[in-house]
């Protein structure tokens, strides 16, 4: 059984693509071989910056002969049918058999495919693989039409067994296969031939190429940590960087260098980001102070001077880079200490969205909202407003222009440097959070106020201009923003009537857009927006703008804002369901607590727009429903509800009150009356005080009397008084249960 070795040798493959490419090579070639009948014992793929390598062991020497029998039409079938069958089978009329069957004489084709030598199959499969390789980006070169990630220079493809090795002949656009490869670009550039995978690995290593990326990464990490340890330091772990660096070298040589003293006082994040992004250096820090003091770089070769020239060059480049960073840092600090007004003013010229104005406009809105939210989250309103005004100022800073990933963090440094309260500084960094379902949620009140204001402004703004996420498209990350609001609210137990807040913001934005598009002066617009804030709308009378106000605000704009806020609230509910599903709470339980009657227009109600309350109820209901009583109560409730609904439909009346214990005929009825009285007495005050667990368990206790009632009593008694009384009793069950949650929404 021969072994197959393939090497696709090219100009430097981007580090980030190598791993996936070696996996694709293995998958495409082995799948192709197996499809053609060539099975194998094992396979492995490797990559270096210049080569993709696949070794397949224990391959069949040739594919097995296959025999396929196809049943065709009857022998006396129309000529066309027979022709079609023959064409499909690739045979002539005299090559097919006629067999007797219960249905008459039928044609049968026996197609025998002789086995093919492995080399033929490999050549086909490999050529096809090269031509259709799924590179994320590929290119042409020279005068050719072939595409590869960078110019493909040679193809090594050999089959080897005990008897020796042979080249699998193939030619892809003038690149002929062979058994020759080359070593390290600089340390061993001469070509050499190989006879097997083992021979290949050994000779490669001798030619200063470590084939296995995992081996390179491990060598780099070991050398780096040892070197750091010897100096009483430690390497800052970075798996992504390690993988990338391992993809940039064939012969890793680890070197540790110094960072100029001038730069050691830069914030550690700046040092680390600059070294990583620009130079792909690892940061090395003191184990005692945590301060970053050195760097580790990985060269691709050994040199006679033990890397001294290389290291000196790298140190010099780093100094130039850090000199830039330091220049930015010092310039920025000057602006920061000078109150950052240059930065906030500069944001007036930066468009946030052409329908939603500049970044400065946006910050203005966020600041107003943060101020309003401050009292709700327990922050000082002045601090919250100031924090919001400064939170995005660093977007104008030189450092963030250079390293966008440092936004927020730099803001924190700069605001602190301006002498402001740490709560304001922290908000700059924390207001972007949470960025995902597992990211930390800020808890400091000022940060929470700004984070909520930022996200609510984004959501209401994009809702106002109809830029909602659709399907997989969410270019403004609005789902993430909504989840952020949900997590901020829930984890900080914030109590806000979300629907009302949304409506206020949306109406304001809508009116702003409306008036801007009508080309009123900025003054007019700002006055109007101020005036038409729905909060103040009630007091708004007899202004010069009354007419416009009436037209835009009480008219189409108000309706539009209402519709959009309801839509946005529903979007929040949908996000909430996704979020709670991951915590084991079913969507129907949340629906039951949102409790919007079917067909009714969805509106913000105290039940559904206070997310903290909503989730508290959902959790209590979830808990209650997971008990035996709770589960059975649902059945009892549904039964009561069904009978009642049917009777109401049939009689054309609503049975809503008037059940009287004096018309009760059985003990079970009387027991139910008593139980309902008792439950009502508990549930009403518990709901009032939002003690949902008490309310739910009081409700669940109804299970036994309800079950007993249905067991013993026939609702549709002949006596109409008794029947009405019983229906009214069912109505009490329905009303009481619905006061806790809309149990009709519960599935199953």
């Amino acid at each position: 059984m021969p072994d197959l070795l393939i090497e696709l040798f090219s100009e430097e493959i981007p580090a980030r693509m190598q791993k996936r490419a070696s996996e694709d090579l293995q998958k495409l070639v082995t799948n192709g071989l197996v499809e053609a009948g060539l099975t194998y014992a094992s396979a492995a793929a490797f990559s270096t910056p210049r080569r993709l390598v696949l070794t397949v062991e224990g391959l069949l020497g040739e594919s097995p002969t296959t025999r396929e029998e196809r049943k065709g039409p009857k022998a006396d079938a129309p000529e066309k049918a027979i022709e079609g069958f023959l064409r499909g089978a690739g045979l002539s009329r005299d090559q097919v058999e006629e067999r007797e069957t219960p249905k008459g004489n039928v044609l049968f084709a026996v197609i025998e495919k002789p086995g093919r030598p492995a080399a033929d199959i490999i050549a086909e499969v490999l050529e096809n693989t090269v031509r259709t390789f799924p590179w994320p980006k590929s290119m042409r070169w020279g005068g050719g039409a072939l595409k590869w990630v960078r110019p493909l220079q040679s193809i090594l493809c050999i089959l080897a067994d005990e008897a020796g090795h042979s080249v699998v002949p193939l030619d892809v656009d003038g690149i002929a296969s062979g058994d020759v490869t080359r070593g390290h670009r600089f340390m061993a550039p001469d070509p050499f031939s190989v006879t097997s995978f083992e021979d290949y690995s050994v000779k490669l290593k001798r030619a200063h190429v470590v084939l296995d990326p995992a081996e390179r990464a491990e060598a780099i990490w070991n050398d780096a940590t040892n070197m750091a340890f010897a100096s009483g330091l430690e390497v800052v772990e970075d798996a992504g960087l390690l993988a990338e660096v391992a993809g940039l070298v064939e012969w890793p040589v680890v070197l540790m260098g110094r960072i100029g003293d001038d730069f050691l006082e830069l914030p550690p994040e700046v040092l680390q980001t600059s070294m990583k992004e620009h130079q792909k250096f690892f940061s090395v820090r003191s184990t005692k102070t945590g301060r970053i003091e050195r760097f580790v770089t990985v060269a691709n070769r050994e040199t006679a001077d033990q890397g001294a020239t290389i290291l000196a060059g790298n140190e010099k480049v780093l100094s130039a880079r850090l000199a830039d960073a330091k220049f930015f840092w010092e310039n920025d600090l000057r602006v920061a200490k000078d109150d950052m007004s240059v930065w906030t003013q500069a944001l007036e010229n930066v468009t946030f969205h052409n329908k939603l104005g500049s970044q400065a406009d946006r910050i203005e809105r966020i600041a107003a909202l943060a101020r309003e939210l401050a009292s709700v989250v327990g922050a000082d309103p002045d601090q919250a407003e100031e924090a919001a005004r400064l939170a995005k100022a660093d977007l104008s800073s030189e450092m963030v222009y250079e390293f966008p990933e440092l936004q927020g963090l730099m803001g924190r440094y700069y605001i602190a440097a301006s002498g402001r309260d740490d709560a304001i500084a922290a908000a700059a960094q924390e207001h972007y959070s949470p960025l995902g379902p597992s990211d930390d949620v800020p808890t400091a009140p000022v940060s929470v106020a700004v984070a909520l204001a930022d996200k609510l402004d984004t959501l209401t703004g994009f809702w106002a201009i109809d830029e909602k996420p659709t399907g997989s498209k969410d270019p403004f990350a609005l789902r993430r923003a909504a989840l952020g609001v949900i997590r901020l609210v829930l984890e900080n137990r914030v109590r806000v009537p979300l629907g009302q807040w949304i409506f206020m913001r949306l109406a304001r934005t809508n009116v702003h857009i409306e008036f801007t598009s009508k080309k009123y002066s900025t003054d007019e617009v700002s006055k109007l927006v101020e005036q038409v804030d729905p909060e103040l709308a009630g007091q708004f009378r007899n202004s010069a703008f009354q007419q416009r106000y009436d037209h835009y605000v009480t008219g189409a704009t108000l309706k539009d804002s209402e519709a959009k806020s309801i839509d946005l609230l529903t979007f929040f509910h949908d996000r909430l369901k996704v979020y709670l599903r991951d915590q084991g709470i079913r969507h129907d339980i949340i629906d039951a607590c949102i409790s919007i009657p079917d067909g009714a227009p969805a509106v913000a109600t105290p039940n559904n727009d206070d997310l903290t309350l909503l989730v508290k109820r959902a959790k209590a209901l979830n808990e209650s429903l997971s008990t035996d009583d709770g589960e059975n109560l649902i059945q009892g409730f549904k039964r009561a509800n069904n009978i009642l609904t049917q009777a109401e439909d049939a009689d054309g009346v609503e049975y809503s009150y008037g059940a009287d214990v004096k018309f009760a005929e059985t003990d079970e009825e009387r027991t139910l009356f008593a139980a309902l009285d008792e439950a009502e007495a508990k549930i009403a005050p518990a709901m009032e005080t939002q003690d949902f667990t008490i309310a739910m368990s009081a409700m669940a206790k109804l299970r036994t009397p309800i079950d007993a009632f249905f067991e013993a009593v026939q609702i549709n008694a002949d006596n109409q008084t008794i029947r009405r009384n019983r229906l009214n009793l069912l109505s009490r069950i329905r009303t009481l249960c619905l006061s806790v949650a809309d149990l009709t929404k519960i599935e199953g």
């Binding site: 981007p14 580090a15 590929s138 070169w141 005068g143 990630v149 001077d305 010099k316």
Partner: protein, 313 residues
Amino acid sequence: MSDTPQTPRSFQEIILRLQTYWAGKGCAVLQPYDMEVGAGTFHPATTLRSLGTNPWSAAYVQPSRRPTDGRYGENPNRLQHYYQYQVLIKPSPPDLQELYLGSLEAIGIDMALHDIRFVEDDWESPTLGAWGLGWEVWCDGMEVSQFTYFQQVGGHDCHPVSGELTYGLERLAMYVLGVDHVMDMPFNDPDAGIALSYGDIFKQTEEEYARWNFDVANTDVLLRQFEEAEAECQKILSLAAEDPKTGKRIVMAHPAYDQCIKASHMFNLLDARGVISVTERQAYIGRVRALAKQCADAFVQTRAGGWSPEASA
């Protein structure tokens, strides 16, 4: 590697060695284009000549201007006016990487002591409607060149593909010469009777241009010039191929492209003056790109761009 030449001693020696090297490899050594451009790629010897099927092989120095990079000559590495060395060979030869490495040796970089790396860097010029794949070339962690296989220019697929090499001359020379501040770099032979440093020649101009670029340039004039260049470019390209005076077929791709270059530079100046907002930026870039595409369309209708009466018949 055995006969690695001696380390050069001046900025101009590095340029001269590159010229000699690439001339020796068969390139036509051209002169800089006589207009303000942001990079060597804008030279029609690259932009236009990378289009069409005719073979091409050229190398040249191109003074380049990036008004926003001005630092009054104070930053050791940043200049608003600097030099690029540009090589364009079409079709890209199979040994272009080796040819390139040879050029580094020619300017005194000893391959046995330095760490040369090809690090992914895909090139895209939104203003030229062009892109290609390649690398930035690192020498001991420093980017010394851009290496690109052009895939598309002016919206046209490149067939055949050109290989483009761009050397940032100041940075490369500072490294080779071991200079820390660009202004300290010897421009001519440091032992010459009148030895001139880079700063002797350019410190003052960096100051002058930085002031003008950032604070003085009349934005109304720049804007008008942008619009005039745009209009002129479009007018040139709207004319019929046949010249009514000579009766010859003369497609004026180059004069039109000059106007495109001019518009691009005006945009860069406006940008440095800080009067272009982020959204407007995209619109301006789009307008320049539209011109570049039309110029490319025109160039492929010329003989140099591969047009022939036979082929078009």
